[in-house]
Structures are given as C-alpha cells and as structure tokens.
Symmetry: C2
Subunit: 324 residues, 2 copies
C-alpha cells in the first residue's frame, strides 16, 4: 500500500488523504491503520479541554510554538494538533486575529493541524479521534495535542486518551465553571486559568485551588518524594494566551509531567489505557452495528410492534431480542 | 407489588421511592416498570434545552404555571419536571430568587419535580431519563418537561424522546450559540430567545431567523395547509422569563404544536420513536455489559496483551474478541 509508505516517509499529502479515509471509516483506512499500528506508541498525547470562551485555542497555538522551541540543541519534535471543538479557530469558526496566528504555525512543515469538528462531535469527541491520533503517532508526530470543548463527558473521555490532560478555565464564564468542577480534579494533570489579566481571576483561581486542596490530602503531597512511583499534584498556572504570558511555564509543566510519567510506569499504563479504550470503542461500534442490523429484520420489527401495543415492556423486548 | 399500586393511586411518596429504584437500576425498579408500562403512553413530553446562562430553568418554571393554568374549565393536567442539567436551580445549583420561585411551584400537589443531575449526566442526558419519564407517564402526569443543558449531543438526544422540543437561546452568550446552531433546526419545534430585554436580542434573533429561513423553504411553508399531514415551521418567540413576559405565548405555541402533532399521525410516530430509542439504549447497555463481562476474562486480557505488544491492531483485536 503506497499510502502507508508515503505516510511513513513523511508525505503530508499522503497523511491528509489517509486521515480522510480513516475518518470516513473506509476499509482502506482501516487496513492502513492495521499496517501503521506497529509504528505507533511513541507520541506523547496532550489533551486540552475547557469551556467555550476560555481561550483554549489561542493557548494551544502558543503552546505548540513553545513545545517546538527546544533548548540544548535537541531535535525538535514534530507536533500535530487535532481540533475537535467546532467553535475552535482551528476548525474555521474563528476571529481574524486567531486565524492569522494559526496561519503562522501552519506554515511550519513540522506542524500538522487536523480539524475533526463535525456535527456528531458537538460537545464530545469525534468518534475517530483515537484512530487519527494513532495515524499521526505512526507518522512520526512526537507530540499530539487534542483540543476539545469542555463538556463534562468529553473531559472524561479525553483523559482516557491523553497522557497529559490540561483543563483550561477563565474568569467570568459563570456557571460553566461550577458545573464542570466536580469532574475536573479527577482528570486534570495541569490546571490553567487563562485570561488572567481579566477581572475575577483571583476568584476563579481561588475556587479551583479550594477544589485542588479538597482532592489532594497532605499525605499525597508529601508522598510525592517516593522514588519511581508516579505522584503528581496538578499545578495551577495563570496564562494570558493572547500575549503569550505564562505559556512558557505551561510548556515547562507539560515537560515536567512527561518526565514524571516516564520515570514511573505511568506513561506505559496510560498508553495501554488508551488502547484499551479504543478497542472497547471499536467493540461497541461493532456490536452496535450488529444490533442495528437486526433493526430492519422482521423479528426486530415484530418485537417493536409489541412494545408499541404495550404488550411488551422495553426491558422484556430486550430480553426477547437477545434470546434469538 | 404495593409500590406499583400506590403509584397508580397517586402516592407521591411511592412515586419518589419508585423513581429512586429506577435510577439505581434495581431489579425491583425494572419489574415495577414492566408492570407500569401498559399504563403509559398518554403524556406529552416537552424537552427544553439551551446553554447555561440562557435562563431556561426560570422559563421552565413559568411554563409549568402557564400550562397548569387552563381555560374553559378543562381539568388541568398534572405536570412533572425532570431536570437533568446539573447547573439547574431544580437540582440545587441555584440563585436564591430561582429557589424561591421553584418552591412556589413545588408546593402544588399536582406538580412533581425530579432532579436527575448526576456526574454521569454532565453535558448529556442521565441514562435513566427515559425510564423515569415512562414511570411519571404511567403515574398520570399528562405533561412531562425534561430540562437539559444544551450540549450538542444532548440536544439531539432530547429530540428523540420529546414530542415537543424547545430550544432556548439568549443574547450575549457568545460562541455557544454559534456552535449549537448547526444542529438546532433539525431538532427545535419551538425556538425561544429568552432575556429579550437585554442588549443583543435583535442580533441573536436575526441569526436564528436566518438559520430558520435556510432550513425551511417556501415550499415547506405553503405546503403547511395540506390536511392531515404534519407540517410545522418552528416559531421564534421572545421571552423575558424573569418577569413572565412572552411565556403565555410560549404555552400557546406548545399547545398549538401538540394539536398539530395529534391531528396528524406524528404524535404516535414520535411516541414510537421514543420507545424505539429506549429499547435501543437498553439493548446497547445489555450488549455493553455482556462485552465488558468479557473484559475480565483470560481471553480478553490475552488479546489486549497482544495489542499492547503491537502484535494485533485494535481492529484485529475486535475481530479476534468477537470470533470467540
């Protein structure tokens, strides 16, 4: 398969074509992924999530530049961005200033931006995100940033497929912060209060800090010294993405988190967790498609007719459908 | 089963207990639903969705009062509210003023309010919403209002289980409106611009109207005259829920929509669609639980070990898991 070879040799055009085949769930895309799979497993996946209005796209943009900008003459990593948020500038729904910034980074041949915003993805992760990330990983992108809109469900989903999850908040977003809070601590590796030059920043940060201290006891924090064991207390960072303030600190924390994951076995464990989630997702889809195949069958329709006539309850219908 | 009898005879305490058993997915709750099922199928289900900050809870509150307040000495319907939005005042995350209003309606013995906000429901519908609605229907609540936070996915989900879907927007919410728009037309039966006394209302309404005209061609609108066939162009209503402005008009439109559904076969068809969605959901959960049972099996873990070792791709793993 030439496409696979071309992708492995760094062709951006081939990669773009392949990703489209993957997103369209063609057999060709699936077969290509089967072949690429053994080349994957090297990328560090960073999930960035937060509500609309938190400025996370601008932050991602800055973060890409910071992560490209390595010290010590190290070979800089190729970086890919997968934008799942439909209101993200990466996906076209942008202000002019944002678009100009994006254009600057998209001119870099070692940065690849893929928009996956689709109707089905509103408020969640596009279902092929994991497959796209795998392909980018195999194609040699050492850092993959997945940007999603911060609805509660997708926050939890993103944590399953990222090594490092960054949760972005901003002052003055109102109830959204309140609603999201309860789930945040369990998934955030790094907390960011963006737009830190705006009023209300102290209140927003204070609320997040209070939540942090509730979730992490003193024991957790002192145990951090223990060698070889993954221990991490999520740092809270203020940024003003629009002028780059705090973004270097954020990049440093990302690198520090990478190191903490790699020094312990946590990095492998998160990679496996992600694979496991992917297999489960594919399994569900396969079962789903097998189950909905039945939907057009005479048997399925007869059972549903009994439900409509109140002769079978929905639970009884399920038993009947699965007994055949 | 006494609980079922008590519910059918109007005991609120029995109903509350039953709903808890249903939400906890106990066998008892499931068996009770099996028995109640034949009494269901009369309620008109209204879905109300919209982003945080659109004031939809206050609007629901007013709407309940309006719908209770029937003219012509008709027997007023019992009304139930299912609140799935975790930031809704119905679920406790409220401002004082909201809570006082809620208290007024919860004192009415013919109004029943059920909060289903749970962590798993963030940004979506609590999974047992349909079952709870069925029980309330069987218990004699002629109107059931389901309030959800307007993430894209739950908007689409709610349309599957409501006869009438009301989409609430408000001026000044920013990108959220933009993001949600693309999916709105397909699901909204009634569009509301709430907080219509605030700046930006003309712009918000104008944007929604433009979308409306794109979705509905002249043919659709003139064909509306055709007899017996369901034709409906979603009206756009301005409200100021905080002082009740426009809510009577909204209630009138809800009644007009009910009538339009009932004059055609659309009401039955939507009820069946909802049943069908419920069965599918239960079916998926059953398949899911059967599939995840496998997860602890030796075979499943052996297959996953091959994935971690890059010997099997995720797609190949699924084929292997399902071939056993």
């Amino acid at each position: 398969m030439d496409l696979v070879n071309d992708v492995l040799h760094g062709s951006r055009l081939a990669l773009t074509r392949l990703l489209t085949k993957i997103e369209d769930e063609t057999i060709e895309g699936q077969e290509a992924l089967d072949k690429l799979f053994s080349y994957s497993g090297k990328a560090h996946v960073i999930g960035v999530t937060g509500p609309t209005g938190s400025g996370k796209s601008t932050l991602v943009n800055c973060l890409v530049n910071e992560l490209r900008d390595v010290k010590d003459r190290e070979k800089p990593q190729k970086v890919a961005v997968i934008a799942v948020d439909p209101s993200s500038p990466f996906t076209g729904g942008a202000l002019l200033g944002d678009r100009l910034r994006m254009r600057a980074i998209s001119a870099d041949p070692d940065i690849f931006i893929r928009s996956m915003a689709s109707r089905g993805a509103l408020g969640g992760l596009a279902k092929m995100t994991l497959a796209v990330a795998l392909a980018l990983d195999a194609a040699g992108y050492g850092i993959i940033i997945i940007e999603t809109v911060g609805a509660g469900q997708s926050e939890v989903e993103i944590a399953k497929l990222a090594h490092t999850t960054i949760v972005v908040e901003a002052p003055g977003l109102g109830d959204d912060i309140q609603a999201a809070k309860s789930g945040i601590l369990e998934i955030a590796d790094i907390l960011v209060v963006n737009k830190a030059d705006q009023p209300g920043v102290d209140a927003a940060e204070g609320a997040l800090k209070a939540m942090l201290w509730m979730g992490y006891s003193d024991t957790d924090i002192s145990a951090e010294q223990e060698k070889g064991k993954y221990q991490w207390v999520p740092p809270l960072i203020r940024t003003v993405a629009i002028n780059g303030e705090g973004v270097q600190k954020l990049a440093d924390e990302v690198r520090r988190h990478m190191a903490a994951l790699q020094e312990s076995r946590e990095w492998q464990s998160r990679t496996q967790q992600c694979m496991s989630a992917f297999v489960k997702q594919l399994l569900m889809r396969e079962l789903q498609s097998r189950a909905s195949l039945d939907e057009n069958s005479k048997n399925y329709q007869q059972v549903m007719a009994k439900v409509y006539d109140k002769k079978l309850s929905p639970y009884q219908a399920v038993q009947e459908l699965l007994s055949n």
